[in-house]
Amino acid sequence: MNKEFSVVGTKVIREDGVDKVTGHAKFADDYKFDGMLHSVMLRISEAHAKINSIDFSEIENNQSLFSIITSADIPGAKKVGMIKNDQPIFCDEKVVTPGDVLAMLVGESEYELRTLLKKIKVDYTPLPILNDPKKSLDKDAILIHPETGTNLICHHPLRKGDLEKGFAESDDILEQTYTTQLIEHGYIEPEAVIAIPLGSSQGVKVIGSIQNPFTTRRFVANVLDLPLSKVRIVQAHLGGSFGGKDDTMCVLSARAAVAAMKTNRPVKIRYTREESILESYKRHPYILNYKIGYAKNGKIKAMKIDILADGGAYVSMSPFVTWRTVVQATGPYEIENVHTDVRAVYTNNPYTGAMRGFGSPQPIFAQESLMDEIAARLHITPDEIRRINGLKVGSITATGQTLKDHEVNLVRVLDVACGNTDFITKWKKNKNEKTHIAALDFKSPVLKESQFIKPGNLIKKGIGLAVSFRGCSLGAEGVDAASAYLSIQNDGSVYLDCGLAENGQGLRTTYSIIASEVLGITTDKIIYLELDTGITSDGGPTVASRGTIMGGGAVKKAAEILLERLEKFVKDEFKLGEDDFVSFRENLVFSRRKGLISKFPEVCKLAFLKGVSLASIGWYKSPNVHWDEKFGQGDAYFTYVYGCQVAEVSVNIATGEVYIDKVTAVHDPGKVINRLGAEGQVYGGVTQGAGYGIFEEVTTDKGFIRELNFDTYTIPTSKDIDEIKPIFIEGKDSYGPWGGKSLGEPTLELTAAAISNAVSNALGKRFFNLPLNLEEVLLSKKLRPADTKRGSLL
């Protein structure tokens, strides 16, 4: 264990843990209020339709109905959005995707309300449906939002060097197309929110499963046309989010708030799993085309990348998600000539937005597959090709950024991962074991004698790796700053508050560790205040793995301000010499000369009596980054993290089943602050990444989702992965608390790519389409039922 630290890097029990293991922790749906009404949503079974009229006459006088909430009840903005206001709170003019909600009924009983839904008559005209993003930009494509004049959501170009020259200098050119699938966040807690009217002078209070309370506040205030100060958002314990409880929760909060203001009663919305999957946004499916030129010695000379993202029916976070893609699309390789275009387009499919990984898992799958393919063509090992091209200190990235002032650990994580798994030996051995997947001919489906597999040959082993670099925090997406508030009470206990919201990952625990480390007190002295936008200052969103580096940075600053004040006070109070030195450890106060002089609570009490302020606000702002939109050039992020994952798999060559024997995850999160939390991030991220790699997929038919619950949308269980081994390379970085950077997303983004390379190593054939489900592994294609009827997936 590191001697410099007493709390940082140790295993600290999370501050909300006891409440969570005893069932006392309150999640949004656990809140009840007197007079609370429930609500149900009105939808139609169409992905694209013009709404002519909605006739409520049959239910208007029904006793079970308290009120009908429509867009006519909205005093402010009727459309909202993270970046662009294109998403109606109530779609009473047009629906553009099956999740769209036309109106909402509120009343005492959810069940009664549901029966009323069937009696509402909606008159609508179906419109042609656009489901294929490749057709979105066709001249004759129907426009999803005609007022925008195009289905193009955004286009990020990047131009570096001279592409022609690069290809001309290449000895070989390889071009491949990859696709990745639509997936669901799969947080186990479905959405829930309650809005409580506080009277005209106070506005409204909203409690919910909300990822980013400040974003939600902005939405709700806009919709209600209230000043921000009259909207208070309180975050309930959040049952998982992974980027997924942002837009959806903003919209739900706004609906609940409109209803609460209209009815003057608390109004709860809670979703079933089916509604959650139906309406919430998902991860973008990508179509990625890569053309890559390289020399005989393995050096990549040029890369031309064309990426199309299906944004679905609304803009949401697509411009930012795809921006990260354009920055990282080449992978962590130094390439002189790069030409990238990333576009996101509208379709009538479920809309897509932020999800852990945020525009990186898709290009990593493509670029890491390509690297393996090039290595195979050059008869070198996968690690060699990456060593030849990998980023090092002083390298220039595709965006023209020179990597300096942080440890560029790419080759190091690669070395550690390979060394730890005996990668090269295993890779060669698997490769040399001849595998025979029988070519199947569907015209004569009966197997020939030679196609049957000997029982002993059923399982093939494979090993594969993937590497990545990832820009920390928001980058040139936006202004990046966070604040934290610390206040020491006169008994030495401490209130801590930070504007970055806990999402379940243990952010608060990390912050408590940081404060306790600086102040030399134990973590149990620190009380974390619940996030209430009425009290806490805005810390920016909990996204982009910025919790530790940004919020942690702010907490450390706040604590350091107080420490300095206390040191000075102690010196004066205890009449210590100028050259003496005060230190705080484990709730005790020491002087270098006199040894133990007091206890933390006593010092705090004295300070209080002497009128010393023991409250502080810490502010952490990221260094400036800059970006040229036209050429995609600039210092995109102020620092980066590097990771390498090695996947070891067993593939059943008769069925196409992939079993994950082991994933070794090597990451350089800077300094590990919260060890249990960091390990948990790796286990959780790898498991999600594995699901993405081998079976998770939301399939749609004309925009309608087949997998509306966990019976068909399969996420990994306790039995699907045998072993995950986290290895941390702790480096020094000038940013973040003691150099603590990012971890949450890097853990997820590599796994699918590593698995795909491992399966290729086992079978000797490449894969171009995620997920590597049974059909993909065996037949290299996806099979789909013709409709979306329940049970159709058998």
Partner: protein
């Protein structure tokens, strides 16, 4: 959200049968509830007319596992967990034990019942192929009659059985196969646990000096309902179970499945896999 309905928990079979014969259409039996409760809650069409549930869990006649020399008799409302805890089943009916252990999760197995698995005749019911190769029979009672029919006859068409509205399945009887039988059960799902079956296969075989004396073959999830392949069994009888024949038989199983099922969206995947895995089953019991 559940429709409003009534629930009655009779203490004996007679009361239950009385109820069934008095009222009609809108009654449904519930035992484990793992199918009925979510079905009702999601307002599934299958249950939309139900107004009365009869909970048979307290009825002694449909509980308990009884064994004698020739057969085992499992109460219709025995849970899968009960089945797994029964030693006779583990020893004498290893295929059944294996099939049951792959169903759902511990929580599901603690509630779901053996008869509940097949009374709605869903194609993916995991115990069906196994019960078919064990030649299971079903005891059925109404107020006026009592009958016993083979499971194979009971299952008539997808989501349809020979059960009349006034009847209850009370017991499943399975003859104990002679020790000469070897066999195995195979299930393929999309993940390792709690998976809907994509393919199930059951195989029992008795051979003498590699000459097949009797073979029983059944499948689930690849056929519209769980299906015994009698023609194939006849074809195999008396043949020598060498590698070549095993391959031939596996190919023939593929042909049969196409005959029964036709080609579906999933056939391109399932057909070759069924043949491969059936071959693996045959090879597995050979050793």
């Amino acid at each position: 959200m559940m429709p409003s309905l009534e629930i009655i928990t009779p203490k004996n079979l007679n009361d239950a049968l009385n109820l069934l014969s008095s009222k009609e259409k809108d009654i449904h039996i519930i035992a484990g509830g793992t199918d009925v409760v979510p079905g009702l809650n999601q307002e599934s069409n299958r249950f939309k007319d139900i107004r009365l549930l009869i909970d048979i869990n307290r009825i002694a006649e449909v509980k308990g596992i009884k064994t004698d020399k020739e057969k085992i008799s499992i109460g219709a409302a025995e849970t899968f967990s009960d089945v797994l805890q029964n030693e006779t089943i583990e020893k004498k009916f290893p295929l059944l034990w294996k099939a049951v252990s792959t169903i759902g999760s511990v929580q599901i197995r603690n509630r779901a019942t053996i008869a509940g698995n097949f009374v709605n005749n869903a194609p993916c019911a995991d115990t069906v192929p196994v019960l078919l190769v064990y030649n299971a029979t079903i005891e059925i009672e109404s107020q006026s009659s009592k009958r016993e029919i083979g499971l194979n006859d009971f299952l008539s068409a997808p989501y349809k059985t020979k059960l009349n509205a006034d009847e209850i399945v009370t017991r499943i009887n399975i003859p104990i196969p002679s020790n000469e039988f070897a066999g195995d059960f195979y299930k393929l799902g999309r993940r390792r646990a709690v998976a809907i079956s994509r393919i199930t296969l059951a195989l029992l075989m008795k051979s003498n000096d590699r000459i097949i004396d009797e073979i029983r073959i059944a499948s689930g999830a690849v056929t519209p309902i769980g299906t015994r392949f009698f023609d194939l069994e006849k074809f195999a009888k008396g043949k020598k179970a060498d590698d070549e024949f095993m391959k031939e038989l596996s190919g023939k199983l593929g042909e049969q499945i196409i005959q029964v099922t036709g080609l579906r969206w999933s056939s391109e995947y399932k057909l070759p896999v069924v043949q491969q895995m059936f071959y693996q089953l045959l090879k597995g019991i050979e050793r």
